[in-house]
């Protein structure tokens, strides 16, 4: 249900998952396939209601593997496509995430994080899927993972997720936690939406000669036609050459794997999502993402320390964190898991020695189905302030 907040303006009172639906429609998503699971189901329900009205398509598939298969199939025909799931369903999606990576098919996968492992805590929040989002599918692969810390950010990152997936021809994982998915907040919906569409062959392209996986531009992204437009090419999940046919020489394999990694790094500025606010009188920062950032920011304002908010978790902002390590003495990483992104922070700051000593990284890592209370973070900050 969408409640108008003020008269008929663009300000709405929205639940996170509702904002995701609105943003997906605004950016041109016209296909959704999914399988119900708490706490992501509102996205499927919203898409089921809205898509037919705009000549789009909704289908409830028999499971999550099937859902992502259908999403990839629709995207191959040129239709922007979305699926949404949680915990157990995200585990099932992993094989097809890898397929979309190697076949370079744009698609967006929302995983609303709930407590795990297994069926775990179906209705309670967690941030335990961060490393699965990065590494869940097998083999060497790049990943773009975005995580919102407010309903408005959920809206914006849904749009960003589609735009990045289209631009780089890669699956993009959107990783809200249960709190953000179910929170209702005032959201000002932007009047205009920046839309990036995948590049397609020029209308006068030689259809018989076009090589779907050949890359002629510096961005490393191939120009793959849509199915049914006269190109009659092949798509496979096997390692393939520029024509899209299986080929497995060491040279072809290495070239393909390096290219799909580099194309993501190449777009760094577009992908980046980090907000750093250092406090004038403190060399401590609280680094976090998702709903944990909200607690972290509250604690920081109470104690006068800085904050770092990540909205793009991967590719991890190594460069920015290394720079940060030169400016602060202590980084407190807050997340609802037993220690995931904190390890990335430790890795990035390793070897940086500001002020003649190593920057200290502390993790506040709690996984008990509860939002991390600002009080817990305040206590840690005060401890650090004493030393």
């Amino acid at each position: 249900m969408i409640l108008p907040f003020l008269d008929n303006s663009e300000i709405k009172f929205l639940q996170g998952n509702e904002a995701c639906v609105k943003a997906a429609l605004a950016v041109g998503c016209r296909f959704f396939a999914g399988y119900p699971i708490t706490p992501s189901t509102e996205i499927a329900e919203g898409m089921a209601k809205e898509l037919p009205k705009v000549n789009g398509t909704f289908i409830q598939m028999e499971d999550e593997i099937a859902s992502l298969g259908a999403v990839i199939g629709a995207s191959i025909c040129g239709v922007k496509s979305l699926t949404a799931t949680s915990g157990p369903g995200f585990s099932l999606k992993q094989e097809h995430i890898g397929y979309a990576v190697i076949a370079e098919i744009p698609c967006v996968i929302v995983n609303v994080m709930r407590g795990g492992p297994s069926t775990g805590l179906p209705t309670l929040p967690a941030q335990g899927d961060v490393m699965q989002a990065r590494w869940g599918t097998h083999g060497d692969h790049p990943a773009i993972v975005l995580s919102p810390s407010s309903v408005r950010e959920y809206y914006d990152l849904t749009i960003k997720a589609f735009n990045l997936s289209e631009k780089f021809r890669t699956p993009v994982i959107l990783l809200p936690d249960e709190v953000i998915a179910h929170t209702r907040e005032k959201v000002e919906i932007p009047k205009e939406t920046r839309i990036i569409n995948r590049q397609l062959p020029a209308p006068d392209a030689n259809k018989a000669k076009h090589q779907p996986y050949a890359v002629n531009s510096a961005d490393g992204v191939p120009v793959i036609p849509n199915f049914g437009e006269g190109f009659r090419f092949n798509i496979t999940g096997l390692v393939h050459d520029a024509t899209g046919f299986p080929a497995a020489t060491p040279e072809i394999t290495e070239k393909l794997l390096l290219r799909i990694h580099k194309k993501i790094a190449a777009g760094d500025n577009e992908i980046k999502g980090i907000e750093i606010n250092l406090a004038r009188n403190s060399d401590i920062v609280v680094l976090s993402y998702g709903s944990s950032f909200r607690s972290g920011a509250q604690a920081a304002s109470e104690t006068g320390v800085g904050t770092v908010k990540l909205t793009t978790l991967f590719p991890f902002p190594d460069k920015e964190i290394k720079e940060l390590a030169k400016k602060v003495k202590t980084i407190i990483v807050v997340e609802m898991n037993l220690g995931q992104l904190v390890r990335e922070v430790e890795r990035a700051v390793a070897g940086q020695s500001p002020h003649g000593g190593l920057v200290k990284v502390y993790g506040i890592n709690i996984s008990n189905g509860l939002l991390i209370h600002p009080e817990i973070i305040v206590r840690k900050i005060k401890e650090c302030q004493k030393t």
Partner: protein, 271 residues
């Protein structure tokens, strides 16, 4: 006028991966004959396959071709058909691909009666991985993972899909190669889920492990055990022992899924 079916092949991708005596090539050429008889526009045909020796067929034909993941071809095909209903979508799959790992997708695609045309290269074995038993390996037969004989019961894929809601169901064998194009042609013409089970030979694994290492012997076995539907209907249960039925087994038009969705859209436009 009929073209030479070579015109539909990507001959530059040959030699194909199939072993000498493998039946998969017989099925592929029969499918191409059916497409040729229908005189369909090649640009509007999508061929989707899973993983297995059989699923490699997609790469050899000059259409929009999609080689997917093991067992999931029907899910990708469902997305394609919904996104572009004007495409004729043909799914080439193995018995393991479509009825073991993909069994759930098979019954649900049939249940929806979505306009997909599934051709199963049914060799009763996992060829690609070296001859392990599949859901269509007959009980007591041998396989790499059934060294003491298979104790599983086998699926009758035609009964299965018919019960699940397919509107066209047929079976043939690579021995009856001339019959296959007729069945595939009717299947493609059917607006709904069409399922065509083709019994074929993997002499390399199934044959060798079951005292039929010669491909010709395997074809003879198909000839000896297949019974036409007309005959089958008057056979006693005893006579049916060890035999199987071929021909058009079911053909009953029913509302098609993408059509139903189009109507649903129109309904929401009127809201």
């Amino acid at each position: 006028m009929s073209k030479d079916i070579k015109e539909y092949l990507r001959l530059d991708k040959f030699p194909h991966i199939w072993c000498p005596g493998c039946g998969h090539g017989i099925i592929l050429q029969a499918v191409l004959r059916a497409i040729d008889r229908l005189q369909l526009d090649r640009d509007n045909i999508a061929v989707v396959s899973g993983i297995g020796c059989s699923s490699r067929a997609a790469g050899y034909v000059d259409f929009n071709t999609l080689h997917t993941t093991h067992g999931r071809a029907l899910t990708f095909a469902t997305g394609i058909k919904l996104a572009k209903p004007e495409l004729t979508v043909i799914v080439l799959t193995g018995d393991g691909d479509c009825s073991a790992i993909g069994g759930n997708h098979l019954i649900h695609a049939a249940r929806r009666n979505i306009d997909l045309n599934v051709i199963v290269f049914n060799n009763s074995i996992y060829g690609m991985t070296g001859g392990q038993y599949s859901p269509t390996t007959p009980t007591t037969d041998y396989a790499a993972t059934a060294p003491y004989g298979n104790i599983d019961n086998a699926f009758d894929l035609c009964e299965l899909t018919r019960a699940a809601g397919a509107s066209y169901v047929a079976r043939s064998t690579t021995f009856h190669a001339a019959q296959i194009p007729l069945l595939v042609e009717k299947g493609i013409k059917n607006k709904g889920f069409s399922f065509i089970d083709i019994i074929t030979a993997c002499p390399i694994y199934y044959g060798r492990m079951n005292k039929m290492p010669d491909a010709v012997d395997m074809l003879k076995t198909q000839r000896d055990n297949a019974r036409n539907i007309k005959q089958w209907d008057i056979m006693t249960a005893e006579e049916k022992q060890g035999k199987f039925v071929i021909g058009e087994l079911y053909n009953k038009p029913a509302p098609e899924y993408t059509d139903a969705y189009r109507q649903l859209r129109e309904k929401t436009h009127a809201l």
